[in-house]
């Protein structure tokens, strides 16, 4: 499926992937500190495991360095 990651179009083969899988797939640095925005909404960290990524989803990885979760 096609998704947008940090503004760039990406093709992924896995049709059933949750947020932790996306973090791993795109080698996101410092995954314990990253904030994830999915289609403009910030995801609560506790919902990462249960949030499945769908076709055309737009994901942003953001860091609020120095203490930001």
């Amino acid at each position: 499926m096609e998704i947008k990651v940090n503004g760039e179009l990406k093709q992924i083969v896995n049709d059933s992937i949750a947020v932790p899988g996306i973090l791993k797939l795109f080698n996101v640095e410092a995954p314990d500190m990253v904030s994830v925005q999915l289609n403009g909404e910030f995801l609560d960290r506790k919902n990462f495991d249960s949030t499945l990524i769908k076709e055309k989803d737009e994901i942003e990885f953001l860091y609020f360095m120095g203490g930001g979760k």
Partner: protein, 410 residues
Amino acid sequence: MKGFASKAIHGASIKKDLQGALRFPLYDSVAFEFDSSRDIELAFEGKKPAHAYSRITNPTVEDFEQKIRLVSDAFGVVAVSSGMAAITEVILALAETGSNIITSPFLFGNTISLFTKTFKRWGLEVRYADMTDPLSIDKAINDRTRLIFLETITNPQLEVANFADITAIAGKHNVPVVVDGTLTTPYLFRSKDAGIALEIISTTKYITGGATSIGGVIIDNGVFDWRKNPGLSSDAIKVGPAALVMRLRREIHRNVGSCMSPHNAWLQALGLETVALRIDKSSANALAVAQFLHTQKKVMLVNYPGLLSNTFHDNANRQFSGKFGGILTFELKSKEECFRFMDSLTLVRRATNINDNKTLIIHPASTIFTDYTVDDRERMRVNDRLIRLSVGIEDLEDIVEDFQHGLDKL
């Protein structure tokens, strides 16, 4: 890891040191290099976790911030140059000209000065309420109120409010509660569990580990919806719970320049590792000293929340894990007696600091509160007969012997 000490010692290291150093190294560098222009662009957009310039973030400072975040179970932490800088950044982030804050008349002298002199000139209204009287707080709040500010143990009155009452009223009005937890730290008081939005701490005190360096932290517990703050609401819609940390990091903290030095962060991360031991010891010493002073005929009054007879004993005992910290006050007959007593001490040091490893003594009316009128001081319960003690971690018998010696000179 569940325990406070384990978390403080083993920390929340997010990056392994290249050399495998067990103690996170001191990164004494102003700027950090990037492999490509795209990398530095991503870092500035917040899409790459990297340090660019130490006024904004620094690896050693970040290590300290992460340790504080772990021990307080907070959402985010920003370390700053002092406790006063922490209060200043919070007010700048949450309030604006024409708005007001609700606070107690019982505050650290420089905090009162910051509110009533410095911020007053920029149009901030300071409204006072009795933090032990929920109705008083309720009446003071209006639609221009941006926060409620109080100290977990007021200095030097040693008043302890019931935080559940305050957070309930604040919640009703959509206003965050900000506490100065310097005298308690997250070891004694779990501010997140009490529903406190922000905790600021002067890490210069207990956390520094022996008065080595100046510092402060702003702890965002992640329990307040920042959409309810007019100045942060648009950011909160975009970045959710990160709105305050982002505002601090990308505007207030960066622009004000009140950053913690990497040296201080290194020292304070070391101090954090032993803070539980030192608070246990100073609390035990302070209780014993308060009990000793309580039996002395030359001592008119002893104020320590650890004493069963103290008005705030129940509040402190319930909210502070059964320990009461190292600060107590007592009264002698006159200012002259106070000075004679203090000048006869040989172990206890005359100095304006608290929560050092050394026991420290000061006469607040003639020092920290000297800029205030006698009437103002009386309202703040800082009279000429009052002495403040910060009990350290020396051997108890030596502290008591010194006080006995001082009292014998009166």
